[in-house]
């Protein structure tokens, strides 16, 4: 659909959240929790941390939660019975105040979970989420969205995008039919915007540091470049923090929990950085050392996904670098690969 431009007053944001709440939509937004900023359900505007650059974790949990139930069963004398967990059992949700890199991060997850056979747990939740992203007026040294095809005002994956254009006014871009449907519920707060608003004036300046096609090409050719992977991962302690904050990481594990009568099977986030991830029962491990696990992380995102799913598995949000306890910086590592 053709993009529509509207103006919303900052002073009406609070009413906007109230409207969403009164219609019964759960609203997920960045919330300060001590030193971290989580994406959580909010009741009102004053809970939302709109001033932070990025939430500590990405917005992916709206459709791919850290822990989710995929099976329920009872253990009975007459035999085990299982109950379907109905993936259709989810509510229309609004994801509010996330960044463009969060919104576009869903395209990697869409590709993985949308591939046959389709994962309805993800698709149902994603399908029922309307994403209102806020463009970025500032960026920091970890950001490199423009190097991987995104940008501080990138609208890919967003249904609506808000950009502050003055002290009082927000430019509202209505980008999808889902966004249009939601915007209709607060049309009384919107006024028409002139067509000539140059959004780019209000966005952060994020310099392109490498050519993503070059990184994809060189990563694809570097599987056997042992020295490269070793050098880049010497510091890596395999903690998996990078995967847990990443908007595109989708690897998961299953675990059962039960008492004597009933149980559940849970799907949980996992990470290719963990040494147990690929360990065979025999003791053999195809990715025995950390450099092989780091290679998998980079190659999955920059070689395998582009080739097989036609999407680069990185949004340049830099969360992995911010979260890394040993200060590995993916922007620097990718720049190094580009320069091979």
């Amino acid at each position: 659909m053709e993009k529509q431009l509207k103006i919303l007053k900052y002073s009406d944001l609070s009413k906007l959240i109230e409207k969403f709440r009164s219609q019964g939509f759960p609203v997920l937004a960045p919330v300060r929790k001590g030193k971290v900023v989580e994406i959580e359900q909010v009741q009102s505007l004053d809970e939302i941390a709109l001033d932070v650059l990025l939430s500590t974790q990405s917005a992916k949990k709206a459709a791919f939660p850290k822990v989710e139930k995929v099976l329920e069963y009872t253990l009975e004398k007459s035999g085990t019975k299982q109950f379907p967990v109905d993936p259709a059992d989810y509510k229309e949700t609004i994801l509010f105040g996330v960044r463009p890199c969060d919104a576009s991060g869903f395209k990697s997850l869409d590709a993985i979970f949308g591939e046959e056979p389709k994962d309805q747990f993800y698709l149902e939740k994603k399908g029922k989420s309307t994403i209102i992203s806020f463009s970025c007026p500032v960026a920091d040294e970890y950001c490199f969205c423009t190097s991987v095809g995104g940008g501080p005002g990138n609208t890919a994956g967003s249904d609506l995008q808000f950009t502050g254009i003055s002290k009082d006014e927000i430019l509202v871009e209505i980008l999808t039919e889902k966004g249009e449907k939601l915007a209709a519920t607060f049309s009384d707060l919107l006024t028409d915007a002139g067509k000539d608003i140059d959004k780019s004036k209000f966005l952060a300046d994020v310099k392109v540091v490498f050519d993503v096609d070059g990184v994809v090409e060189k990563t694809t050719a570097s599987f056997n470049n042992t020295a490269l992977w070793l050098e880049q991962s010497l510091r890596c302690i395999g903690c998996g923090a990078c995967a847990f904050v990443c908007p595109t990481c989708a690897c998961f594990d299953f675990q059962d929990e039960q008492n004597t009568k009933k149980g559940v099977r849970l799907r949980l986030w996992d990470s290719c950085g963990f040494s147990l991830f690929t360990l065979h029962t025999s003791g053999h491990n195809p990715r025995e050392v950390q450099s092989q696990r780091w290679r998998q992380r980079i190659m999955h995102k920059f070689a395998y996904m582009p080739e097989q799913l036609h999407v680069v598995g990185c949004e340049g949000c830099g969360r992995c670098s911010r979260a890394c306890p040993v200060d590995m910086n993916i922007k620097e590592h990718l720049t190094a690969i580009a320069q091979i």
Binding site: Q82, C251, F252, F254, G263, H280, A303
Partner: protein, 279 residues
Amino acid sequence: MEQQNIYQPYLMEIEKITEEAPMVKTFRLKFKNEEEGNNFSFHTGQFGEYSVFGEGEVTFCVASPHTRKGYIECTFREAGRVTSELASLNEGDTIGFRGPYGNIFPIDDWKGKSLLFIAGGIALPPMRSVIWSCLDKRDQFKDITILYGAKSVADLVYKDELAEWKERPDVRLVTTVDPGGETPDWKGEVGFVPTILDRMTPISENTIAIVCGPPVMIKFTFPILEKYGFADEQVYTTLENRMKCGLGKCGRCNVGKVFVCKDGPVFTRTQLKELPDEY
């Protein structure tokens, strides 16, 4: 409409348990829901995720042939957490099964050829499905030779079937045990599988070789096949990597860009040579 939950297993009743070897059992599994059983089909080479509720899932091939309907079988060694729990179950108990997953042995392409099966230890089960699927269509193939080795006589699995194959005039079966693994009345060969294969001087012409076994056996068997003129396209094997979903999503079984669960587990040696060393 209720959406399909791709992680929901079929409920299976353990119909029969056979003790194959120390720590090795075969389960014959029947679908608890008859309609699901009637609609179920698979092809030889495919695998599934077997679950013990409360412990989790474990990946094995379907060890029974696809030509036999109404049940599936799996053979496993008690090794980890889930297999240990599985081994403690009794006939009549319920487990879960998701599948079939993965690609297949293209036995229809092998019509008119001779087949040479080479298996070691607990790797006979995936091959047993192929062997019976071919034996059930015996007239479509020329010579069928089976070379099977295990550490010791006790470790040989499917002893009844080995005896049956030994009796068949249309099958040549060679069994061997590692040096020191023989018993006084052992009538088979003594020696490692590659050594025995070399002694058998296999004929590569119009022959397909199917090799399943521990990595070290495979490593030393391939050069012997090469020595007797087997081209890479004539040699098939299966890969096994740790899996969770079996559907190409959970991200752990890949070898380079290839998912063992989706693109495998069956590979020709030509395909294997293109894969990076990550298995």
